[in-house]
């Protein structure tokens, strides 16, 4: 296999190689090619996974607090509306009207862009590194892991709908009786009841909460790993917290449209 490099452009073919078409010089070293799948990326995948984990944990804390706030709906219309009004006026005069809400919105939006952007880059890198022969026949094993992109897209769709429905009250998504909050009153309770009295809206909400459970159950466990938890006890606690938090958020939220549809809330 000597002088394989010199045979213009087709090193191996010239010498009647045992492996026609192969780079003999490389093969002597046990290698087919020196090319990498990609050039060293500017933002490594492990860093993107840390970004996903941090933004995901921010989302998880937000949906937990949001769910607890939602449950105030069972304390009565007045109390719930007062809570919604309080959210808009809290910390005044240090913050303007809706100041805290806007801080939260901006943080969430930044996290969303980072989270979805990283998800897309990681997805395409994973496909490139796997190559043309996909891993098949996984069955129900790691179902939640494999459906992260699907449940994530459902969540993205839900977030858009949810904002149009109950925040901006945009026609099409919101109920016809939607009333925006004013400087001295919120109508969150009436808006919520009117929205969930539409079976399609309630059903989409239900679907989104199931997607949220699946996404969070795997996502929080992945975050434990991505943030570098190697201790046995820490990992066990993380695994349990991921499951319990995901379940609590789903159940706490799902109970509301069910109560509306069964007439418990009206």
């Amino acid at each position: 296999m000597a002088s394989s490099q010199t045979a213009a452009g087709h090193p191996s073919r010239a010498m009647g190689s045992a492996l026609p078409g192969a780079d003999d010089a490389a093969l002597e070293l046990g290698r087919v090619r020196d090319a990498r799948v990609r050039r060293a990326p500017r933002v490594p995948s492990w860093v993107l996974k840390v970004v996903m984990a941090l933004s995901g944990v921010v989302f998880a804390l937000y949906v937990l607090v949001h769910m607890i706030g939602n449950l105030k709906v069972f304390t009565g219309a007045d109390h719930f509306n007062e809570y919604a009004h309080w959210l808009r006026t809290v910390l005044q005069p240090f913050l303007p009207y809706e100041g805290l809400l806007w801080v939260v919105r901006v943080v969430l939006l930044v996290c969303l862009v980072a989270h979805v952007g990283a998800a897309g880059v990681l997805w395409s890198r994973g496909r490139a590194s796997r190559g043309t022969h996909r891993h098949q026949g996984l069955g129900l094993r790691n179902f939640t892991a494999r459906t992260m992109l699907v449940t994530g897209v459902v969540l993205l769709g839900f977030v858009v709908f949810h904002v149009l429905d109950l925040t901006t009250g945009t026609g099409g998504a919101a109920s016809t009786s939607f009333r925006a909050a004013t400087l001295d009153q919120a109508y969150a309770y009436e808006n919520l009841i009117a929205s969930f009295q539409r079976p399609v809206a309630a059903a989409f909400y239900l679907l989104a909460m199931i997607a949220l459970f699946l996404h969070l159950a795997h996502g929080l466990w992945a975050a434990v790993s991505d943030l570098g938890a190697t201790g046995r006890r820490l990992r066990a606690v993380g695994y349990a917290v991921a499951g319990v938090l995901a379940l609590a958020v789903m159940l706490g939220n799902i109970i509301i449209p069910i109560s509306v549809l069964t007439g418990l809330l009206s």
Binding site: A22, V32, W46, R125, G126, S129, T132, G137, A145
Partner: protein, 249 residues
């Protein structure tokens, strides 16, 4: 026992590959996957055909040379068992068995079932070793290693570098492999001195061929050395540590 073997044939790294179907009539339950291939190759040679290329060395689960995908499972259907130890006991007379190479874009096929795993060698060359002058062996008990660390380091050092974890991963990630090396070397006094430098070097090499980890957990199911999923977290842990510390150790 008669087995119908669908085996991947590929003459050159450029491909294209194809499945070829052969029948082995005298397979036995205690045969390993590799012995089945030996038997098939005897038959092929007797008939004047080219034998199937595949890799093996020790055939006792310690070298990491073997590794074929059996019915979609890297190494074979039994969990945590190298191809050389996978027996045919689970197969029934007349059953089909599909043999293909370990699959990953980072492992180009050289020929038939032989793949080029030098992407893993490059990671080891980048930092999976001790590159300081370790001096002569220290006096006994002068360098104490806690029992727990020694045990853990030994567990992680069990990796034989076969590449099944990569082939099992839907993302083509090498986290189980890299994480086991990083953990093993960071736990011991000599290896620890280059802990940060090593993490940066190995991760940056890893990024060029392998995918991100989405915690499917498939790697730990196939690993013949029983490296636990914890090794995966070690990749990000060492990455974060070296990033914030910015030192060699």
């Amino acid at each position: 026992m008669r087995l119908v073997i669908e085996v991947w044939r590929q003459d050159t790294p450029q491909g294209p590959g194809r499945y070829e179907t052969h029948t082995v009539d005298d397979a036995t339950p205690e045969m390993s996957i590799l012995e089945l291939l030996d038997r098939l190759n005897d038959q092929l040679v007797e008939n004047g055909l080219e034998p199937v290329a595949f890799e093996s060395d020790c055939r006792e689960g310690i070298c990491g040379a073997c590794g074929v995908t059996v019915d979609g499972n890297p190494h074979g259907p039994q969990r945590n068992t190298p191809s050389c130890h996978q027996r045919l006991a689970g197969y029934a007379d007349g059953q089909r068995i599909r043999l293909e190479p370990l699959r990953s874009a980072a492992f180009p096929v050289i020929r038939d079932l032989v793949v080029d795993r030098s992407a893993m060698d490059r990671i080891i060359a980048a930092g999976g070793h001790v590159a300081i002058d370790a001096g002569t062996a220290p006096d006994a008990n002068s360098l104490l290693v806690p029992h727990e660390s020694a045990e853990r380091a030994l567990d992680m050092a069990a990796c034989i570098g076969c590449g099944a974890c990569v082939a099992a991963c839907p993302n083509g990630a090498a986290h189980l492999f890299v994480g086991s090396k990083l953990t093993h070397l960071s736990l011991l006094p000599t290896g620890r001195q280059e802990r940060g430098k090593r993490a940066r070097a190995m991760l940056s090499e890893m990024e060029q061929d392998f995918g991100p980890c989405s915690l499917y957990g498939e790697c730990a199911r196939v690993c013949p050395a029983h490296i636990p999923l914890t090794a995966i977290a070690a990749v990000n842990k060492e990455g974060l540590r070296s990033f914030f510390r910015q030192k060699d150790d």
